[in-house]
C-alpha cells in the first residue's frame, strides 16, 4: 500500500516498506539530506522535522503512520536562497561548528519561538533538551536565540551594579 503525504508543501508518495523510518525516506528516497542521521534512537535530535507542525525525531516515525501528514524539513523552513530568523541569528553569531545538529536545532527553536517569542535562557535550554550538540556550543546557540528576543534578553541579564556618584 502506498503512503501519500506532503513534504515541504509538495505531495509525495512512498511505495516501500511502511516500517521504514521517515528519516530514511527523506534522505534515501527524496534526497532531502538536510535531515541528519546520527543516533537513530530519538536521543540526539539531529533528524528533527515538523510533522503536522510538531517537531519530532524522524527516525522514530515509521512512514506508514504518515498518510496525509504535512512534513517540513530543514529545506522547507525558508524559501530557497533565504534564511529564517533562527538561521540568520546562527549565521550572525557564528554559531555553527560541525553543523550536524543544526537542522534539528533550527526546527526545534523555530517552533519553540513560535509559541514562546520571549523566552528566558533557562527556557531555551529546556526546549533544546532533545537536541545534542557534540561540539558543545550550547551557550552561543542560546546567545543567538536571545539576540532575536531583545526584551527578554534584557531581563535575563544580571542587574548592572549601581555606581555611586562621588
Amino acid at each position: 500500500m502506498d503512503v501519500q503525504f506532503f513534504v515541504n508543501g509538495e505531495e509525495r508518495t512512498f511505495g516501500g516498506d511502511q516500517r521504514t523510518p521517515l528519516l530514511d525516506v527523506l534522505r534515501g528516497d527524496f534526497r532531502l539530506t538536510g535531515t541528519k542521521s546520527v543516533c537513530r534512537g530519538g536521543f540526539c535530535g539531529a533528524c528533527t522535522v515538523l510533522i503536522d507542525g510538531e517537531p519530532v525525531p524522524s527516525c522514530q516515525r515509521p512512514v506508514g503512520l504518515l498518510e496525509g501528514a504535512e512534513i517540513t524539513t530543514i529545506e522547507g523552513m525558508a524559501p530557497v536562497g533565504e534564511l529564517n530568523l533562527v538561521q540568520q541569528a546562527f549565521l550572525d553569531h557564528d554559531v555553527v561548528q560541525c553543523g550536524m545538529c543544526f537542522p534539528g536545532m533550527v526546527i526545534t527553536l523555530t517552533h519553540f519561538l513560535g509559541s514562546n517569542p520571549m523566552p528566558g535562557r533557562a527556557e531555551i535550554k529546556e526546549a533544546l533538551a532533545g537536541n545534542m550538540c557534540r561540539c558543545t556550543g550550547y551557550e552561543r546557540i542560546v546567545d543567538a536565540v536571545l539576540s532575536i528576543c531583545p526584551t527578554e534578553q534584557a531581563e535575563d541579564q544580571p542587574p548592572v551594579p549601581e555606581v555611586s556618584e562621588r
Binding site: 522514530q60 526546549a127 532533545g130
Partner: protein, 285 residues
C-alpha cells in the same frame, strides 16, 4: 534501504475489535504500536523491527481522554506531552505531571504514549508506571471475544508478561487528598532510578497513608511495600526517609544493564527517596 523489501508490513485498523482480529489472525510476529518509539529504537538494541506492525493511531477510542472527570481517564494513545500539558494542577497529581514532563526529551514526549509505557515489557525505565502506581491507577484492557477487563496496575504488570493477545485501551485513576512527588536520575539514554510517592499525613503530621513506587531499578516498576510498611507512622523527614531507603535496599533485586549496573541503581535510591520527600515537604509549607 527501502527498496526490494516487503510492502504490507503495517495494518491500520479503525477499531479495537478490528485490531484484535488482525492480531488473532496473524501467522507472523505482529506487534501493536502506539508512539512506536520502543519499536523504532529496536535496531539500536540489535533487535530487528517486527515483520508486521498494527498501528493504533486511527482508533478513536484510544485517543479519548477526560482530564476533568474523577476518575480521570486517559486513552492509551495519550502522549506524555498531552498529559504534561493537560493534567489539572494539584498536589495529588504532581507525580504524574512531573513524570510526563521530565521523561525523555520534548520530541519523544510528543510521540511516546501512556499505552506504550505500560505495555513494553522490556522497558524497565518507563516514567509513567511508578507515577500511575502511586495513584492507584487501573488499566483498561480489550480481550478477544469483545471482552473488556480492568486491572489494578500492579496486577497488570504481571498480566502483561503472560502470552495472549490483548490491547490496552486506557488507564484510569481517581483524585485524592495526598501529596505526591516524582524524581529520577537520568543517565545516558534512560533514567537509572525513578521514585514516585504519594503520601497522606495524620493530624500530628506523621505519615498515615503512603504509596512509594520504584522504577528502573528492577525489571519492572513496583510498589515498594517494604518501605511503605516501615515508613507508616513516621515523620516525613527527607533525611530519615533516605536512611530508611538505604536500610531496606536489600529488599530490592536490582537489574544490571548497559546504562548502569544494579548496585549503582540501589546506591542512588536513598538520595532519590530523600529528594522525593523534600518535594513533599516543600509542598506542605
Amino acid at each position: 534501504m527501502s527498496r526490494n523489501i516487503p510492502r504490507d508490513t503495517m495494518a491500520l485498523p479503525e477499531s479495537v475489535d478490528e485490531a484484535l482480529d488482525i492480531l488473532a489472525a496473524s501467522d507472523i510476529e505482529t506487534v501493536p504500536i502506539a508512539g512506536a518509539t520502543w519499536i523504532m529504537r529496536g535496531p539500536t538494541r540489535y533487535e530487528p523491527i517486527p515483520p508486521r506492525l498494527v498501528a493504533l493511531n486511527r482508533i478513536a477510542e484510544l485517543r479519548e481522554y477526560d482530564f476533568d472527570s474523577d476518575p480521570i481517564h486517559l486513552g492509551a494513545m495519550a502522549t506524555h506531552d498531552l498529559i504534561a500539558r493537560s493534567l489539572p494542577s494539584g498536589a495529588d497529581l504532581r507525580c504524574l505531571a512531573l513524570a510526563a514532563h521530565q521523561s525523555a526529551n520534548p520530541g519523544i514526549r510528543r510521540l511516546a504514549t501512556v499505552g506504550g509505557n505500560l505495555c513494553v515489557v522490556g522497558f524497565a525505565a518507563a516514567d509513567l508506571v511508578p507515577a500511575l502506581m502511586v495513584l492507584d491507577a487501573t488499566v483498561c484492557l480489550a480481550l478477544p471475544g469483545r471482552r473488556r477487563l480492568e486491572l489494578d496496575l500492579s496486577e497488570f504488570m504481571a498480566f502483561r508478561r503472560k502470552p495472549g493477545r490483548y490491547l490496552t485501551t486506557g488507564v484510569r485513576f481517581a483524585r485524592n487528598a495526598r501529596i505526591s512527588a516524582h524524581v529520577r536520575v537520568p543517565m545516558r539514554d534512560y533514567p537509572v532510578c525513578i521514585v514516585s510517592l504519594s503520601v497522606g499525613m495524620d493530624a500530628s503530621g506523621r505519615i498515615a497513608d503512603l504509596r512509594l513506587a520504584v522504577g528502573a531499578v528492577e525489571e519492572d516498576g513496583r510498589r515498594w511495600k517494604e518501605f511503605e510498611d516501615e515508613a507508616r507512622g513516621s515523620e516525613p523527614d527527607p533525611v530519615a526517609m533516605g536512611e530508611l531507603a538505604r536500610k531496606l535496599s536489600t529488599t530490592l533485586t536490582p537489574r544490571s544493564a548497559h546504562d548502569a549496573p544494579g548496585w549503582y541503581r540501589v546506591q542512588v535510591l536513598p538520595a532519590m527517596v530523600r529528594r522525593a520527600f523534600a518535594q513533599v515537604r516543600a509542598e506542605m509549607r
